[in-house]
Symmetry: C2
Subunit: 348 residues, 2 copies
DNA sequence: AATCAAGTCCAAACCGCTTTGGACAAGGCA
DNA sequence: TGCCTTGTCCAAAGCGGTTTGGACTTGATT
């Protein structure tokens, strides 16, 4: 059932039917209702591709997920982010199209998406330091919003980010206030922008208290359970092991915890852990009482908001780039406590 | 740069240019090369929507992810499955479009996708017992492949599934061989098809050995860390606690492990755990030596294969529905051992 | 009564591609 | 030489919508 057929059935021209359905004023209310009713009765749905072709709007948003050829990790926060964004899209009649792309031909993809008119805008995932995608997209003239930011990029662009620096600074300060001096940072890969900012926050907090950072207490790895485990295990074997861990993700923290338990240390008393909690739907940080003390910010909500920003930008292309900085909460759980008095756990 | 412009530049008709680019025979090889070169030089990419409209093929596949309104969990295996499928699509020039849908209006979505011509086929995620989507899609006449199966559906359809029954049967037998008699099943929600099959496998193994299943040792919950933890904790508090856990997912197992450790039980000696390992990229089951004994089957690979099946079905619509049953490996890790001799851990 | 504006509808062009049905020239065959 | 293929190209008609530029009524205005 297409427009022409419907028009024929109604004894109207396609023009009028189209206008009736799209709420244009130059159509009699009575006929409009007649058209509406007929459309519903015959289950008429306009062909998206035809609309796109005629209007030039694709009514679709692209999410480009880079996969590094070396370590093929699919970021697990991605699923929840997408879920959030998806809600926004379906509320607004947009489709979401996903491209899983080996990061060596990302450029091609963006040009492709643009030239082939598949999407109206793009959400950029996993920005890195000096990310080449942002100038590229600006140059192409593609509306886009970055989930995160890219240190080093000078041209203005739209982004939504969590205040990673600040939240890790606060978390570090919290540990310092509890008396911890040897605080380890189990970070993500530090060419990722969020990881850079978290490290900065951590270092800032330390330097404010006049504590020199110890390189052996800082690890930068993929945020997997295994990497978290290995990093923590190595650090716990040090002559001066850390008394607290600051961990960039819930997943890494699982590994850290494993290492901690292998060393028969009790969480929250012998050793403290603060994690960043993206509020993943399948990895809740406890129930009413949080397990981990955490810097918390819902990535799903970020997805919702990022998508809204992008749709807004598409609707109003002339306005200046938008930015939104979300503050993470610092929530207190059972995984932190004062540093064991006098007996900083040394290996003998 | 569109076809008409390109044709103009070349002094050819759009027809010829189109044919040259699409490899039709009725065009001189010399001109074809000329066209190809010009296309590359001007970065010409045909407009997807126009192609779609003209050919009737959308060159896109839909993934419909149902979100239950009650428990808004995004299945974490989903990210890896998508990554696998995405590879197949990009290799074949297909786009992937994702719909996050509250499960109460899934019907509408399928009709929509069909009528609006957004996609050529669909991959169905998370099939349930008597899943209404399958007859619906068959009726609509939409090519689709199910990731999983749906017990109770009589009409034939295409699917790709892991042999869940068998792998859990084998896992249970493995535990029985180690002397375990009180084996707990921490399952997913048992309206999900895979969970039903896993339970069946578990029960089959028990009954073959003449062991009556104990309802208190069977839990059916969302596969989150928290649910796993709670279920395991409750079971460990029983007068006759289990000596082994069979856990439906790596994520739940994290919770089970937490409960185990809270009870000061050592994994692989005091208590055994077998998990199902989807080989999630961010949750590897150890490195060379697996941490958990596990039934293993890569969900990413499943994504790749499912996508291939669907593309094949779209290319050859007349052929009968295809099915593919993958066998999970049973890999031995450090989380299983013989039941502690004589001293089955009772609570006193 | 003539003019004008508003209301309601339609024909046709267009979006960018594919594809059908020739047109035309050159070469092969009788 | 005339006819038939074959090779090479093109004009034009779609695909299913939107949108521009009228056409025709009707009622109000002068």
């Amino acid at each position: 059932m297409n427009l022409k057929e419907l028009a024929l059935k109604l004894g109207l021209s396609p023009t009028t039917v189209s206008r009736a359905l799209n709420g244009y004023p130059e159509v009699n209310e009575a006929t409009r209702e007649r058209v509406m009713a007929a459309a519903k009765r015959h289950n008429y749905r306009p062909n998206t591709r035809a609309i796109s072709l005629a209007t030039g709007r694709a009514m679709a948003i692209g999410h480009v997920i880079p996969i590094t050829s070396k370590h093929e990790i699919v970021n697990p926060v991605f699923a929840d982010f997408i879920a959030g964004a998806g809600e926004t899209y379906s509320r607004n009649g947009y489709d979401m199209i996903l491209s899983i792309v080996p990061d060596d031909d990302e450029d091609r993809i963006y040009h492709d998406l643009r030239a082939r008119g598949t999407v109206d805008g793009i959400i950029v995932h996993g920005p890195r330091m000096n990310d080449p995608r942002l100038p590229l997209l600006t140059e192409i003239g593609f509306p886009f919003v970055v989930h995160g930011r890219a240190t080093g990029t000078s041209t203005p662009y739209s982004w939504l980010d969590v205040n990673n620096r600040r939240s890790f600074q606060r978390a570090t300060e919290f540990l310092l206030d509890l008396g911890h001096r040897r605080i380890a940072l189990i970070n993500g890969l530090e060419f990722m922008d969020f990881a850079i900012r978290r490290r900065t926050g951590y270092l800032d907090a330390l330097s404010t208290r006049g504590i020199a950072p110890d390189p052996v207490l800082m690890s930068s790895e993929e945020m997997t359970e295994l990497r978290g485990y290995r990093a923590a295990r190595a650090m716990l074997e040090l002559y001066h092991p850390p008394t607290a861990f600051l961990v960039s993700s819930m997943i890494s923290a699982l590994g850290v915890r494993r290492a901690v338990e292998e060393n028969n240390l009790r969480l929250g008393t012998d050793i403290s852990i603060i994690i960043h909690d993206d509020e993943l739907s399948y990895l809740k940080n406890g129930d009413d009482v949080p397990i981990y003390t955490a810097t918390r910010s819902s990535v799903r909500d970020a997805g919702r908001q990022t998508a809204e920003m992008l749709l807004d930008i598409i609707a109003h292309p002339e306005t200046a780039p938008q930015q939104r900085l979300l503050e993470a909460e610092l929530i207190i759980g059972q995984s932190t406590g004062p540093v064991p008095a006098g007996q900083t756990p040394h290996r003998t």
